[in-house]
C-alpha cells in the first residue's frame, strides 16, 4: 500500500514493533511480483496438435427400465397395502400430467406463431382506440390513394 501511494515509510518507522506485520506483507508482495515475472518469462506450452473432442451422436444406456419405460415394480391391488397404493396413485398422476403437458405442447400455438398473430392484430386494435375523426381521415386518405391509382387519365392512342 505504502509503495503504491508513492509515500514510503521511513526505515525507522518500519523497525518499530507494531509495524512488523505490514513489513512482512510488503515483503510478500514484492516476492509475488518477482515470481510472477519469472513465470511470465518461462511460460511454456505443449507443442501438440489440438485435442479434438468430437461430440457423439449417441447416448448409451444399459437399462431396460428406461428404454421400455417400465412401471414401478411395487404394486398393490384392492387395498392390500395402502402405503404402496398411495405411491402408485402419485406416480400415475405424475405420468398423466407429463402426458397431458406433452399433448398441450403439440396442440398449442407456438411462440413464433403467437408473435406473428399479435403483430397483425396490433393494427386492428389500434384502430379501435383511435378517435372517429382520426379513423375517418385515415380511411379517407387511403381511399384517395386508391382513387388516384384507379382513375387515371389514359391518353387516347392516336
Amino acid at each position: 500500500m505504502a509503495s503504491k501511494n508513492g509515500a514510503q515509510l521511513s526505515k525507522n518507522v518500519l523497525q518499530m514493533k507494531f509495524m512488523q506485520r505490514s513489513v512482512l506483507r510488503m515483503e510478500k508482495e514484492q516476492n509475488e511480483e518477482e515470481r510472477q515475472k519469472i513465470i511470465d518469462d518461462e511460460h511454456w506450452a505443449l507443442d501438440l496438435p489440438e485435442y479434438k473432442t468430437k461430440e457423439s451422436d449417441f447416448l448409451e444406456n444399459q437399462s431396460y427400465s428406461i428404454c421400455e419405460e417400465l412401471l414401478f415394480g411395487r404394486q398393490s391391488y384392492q387395498g392390500f397395502n395402502p402405503e404402496i397404493e398411495k405411491l402408485m396413485k402419485v406416480q400415475n398422476a405424475e405420468k398423466e400430467a407429463q402426458k397431458s403437458e406433452q399433448k398441450e405442447k403439440e396442440e398449442s400455438v407456438g411462440d413464433q406463431e403467437m408473435a406473428q398473430r399479435y403483430s397483425s392484430l396490433m393494427g386492428i386494435i389500434a384502430k379501435k382506440f383511435s378517435k372517429k375523426r382520426q379513423r375517418s381521415s385515415e380511411t379517407k386518405s387511403q381511399d384517395e390513394e386508391e382513387e388516384h391509382s384507379r382513375k387515371k387519365f389514359m391518353k387516347p392512342s392516336e
Binding site: F58, E60, Q62, Y64, S65, C67, Y77, G79, I84, L87
Partner: protein, 240 residues
C-alpha cells in the same frame, strides 16, 4: 435402407448412423442394452429383436436368465452377509451388490436400520459398472424410501426369466391389472427376474404365482381368459 425394427438381429450386425436416424428429426439417439457405438458405427452385441421407441431409442429385446446390473434398475435382493457398515446383497448378477446401512430412509450412524441376513430388499442400482461391484440403495435422491426397503411379513419369492419380469412391468401388459380386478394382493417385481407375491391366503398366492409364470408367452387376450378361469377355480377351492 432403414434399420430392421421388430426383426431379428445377430451379434456382429452393424448399422450406420443414417440407418438409425429417424427422419425429419435431429436428436441424439439413445442406444439401449445390446447395442454399442464403435468407430461411428452401431454394433449389435446380443441376438434378439431390434426394438424402437419414440423419439429415438433403440434396444435389443432378447431372452435372458442372468441379470446384468444397469444403473437405475429396481431389483429385489437377498441380504447374504453383514460386513461392517455394508450388507452384501445377492441381486442375481455375477457379483454381489453392496448396500450401505446409511442408504435406508431415516437411518443415521446411531440409528441403524433393522436388516437381518436373509431379508429381501427392494432397491435401486446406484452404481453399475462392468468393472466394479454394483451398489444398491433403498432411498431416492430426496432421501425418501418411495416404496424401497426391506419387504417384510411373509409372502412368496420366486424367480422368473428377465423377459417375464419386464413384461409384467410393461405399461401395455394387462396381467397385473387383470389379476388386480379379481384378487386382493400385493406384488413386487424386480427387473432382475425376482417376483414377490403376497395375497390373503395360500390358495390365492399359489394361483397368482402360477398365473405369473404361465403368462410368459401369452398375449393380452389369452391373459384375460386365463385370469377369468383362475379366479373361478380359486373361488371354488376356497369354498371347499
Amino acid at each position: 435402407m432403414a434399420a430392421p425394427i421388430g426383426r431379428i438381429v445377430l451379434p456382429g450386425d452393424t448399422f450406420s448412423f443414417e440407418q438409425l436416424q429417424p427422419p425429419d428429426e435431429h436428436k441424439k439417439i439413445l442406444l439401449g442394452p445390446g447395442l454399442r457405438e464403435e468407430k461411428a458405427e452401431i454394433k449389435v452385441l446380443r441376438p434378439g429383436i431390434l426394438r424402437f421407441r419414440k423419439p429415438a431409442v433403440y434396444w435389443i429385446d432378447c431372452h435372458h436368465k442372468r441379470y446384468i446390473p444397469a444403473k437405475g434398475d429396481s431389483v429385489i435382493g437377498i441380504v447374504n452377509q453383514k460386513v461392517g457398515d455394508i450388507f452384501r446383497v445377492d441381486i442375481g448378477s455375477s457379483e454381489q451388490a453392496s448396500l450401505s446401512y446409511l442408504s435406508f430412509e431415516g437411518s443415521t450412524k446411531r440409528n441403524r436400520p433393522d436388516v437381518k441376513v436373509g431379508d429381501i430388499v427392494y432397491s435401486k442400482l446406484l452404481v453399475a459398472n462392468k468393472d466394479m461391484e454394483p451398489e444398491i440403495v433403498c432411498i431416492d435422491s430426496y432421501g425418501r424410501s418411495s416404496g424401497m426397503g426391506v419387504i417384510r411379513n411373509g409372502g412368496f419369492l420366486f424367480h422368473t426369466s428377465l423377459n417375464l419380469a419386464r413384461k409384467l412391468l410393461n405399461p401395455q401388459c394387462t396381467l397385473l391389472k387383470c389379476l388386480g380386478n379379481r384378487f386382493q394382493f400385493e406384488i413386487s417385481v424386480g427387473v432382475n427376474g425376482r417376483v414377490w407375491v403376497k395375497a390373503g391366503n395360500d390358495v390365492q398366492t399359489i394361483a397368482l404365482v402360477n398365473s405369473v409364470i404361465v403368462s410368459e408367452f401369452k398375449d393380452n387376450d389369452q391373459i384375460k381368459e386365463m385370469c377369468k378361469r383362475i379366479s373361478k377355480a380359486v373361488v371354488r377351492m376356497e369354498i371347499d
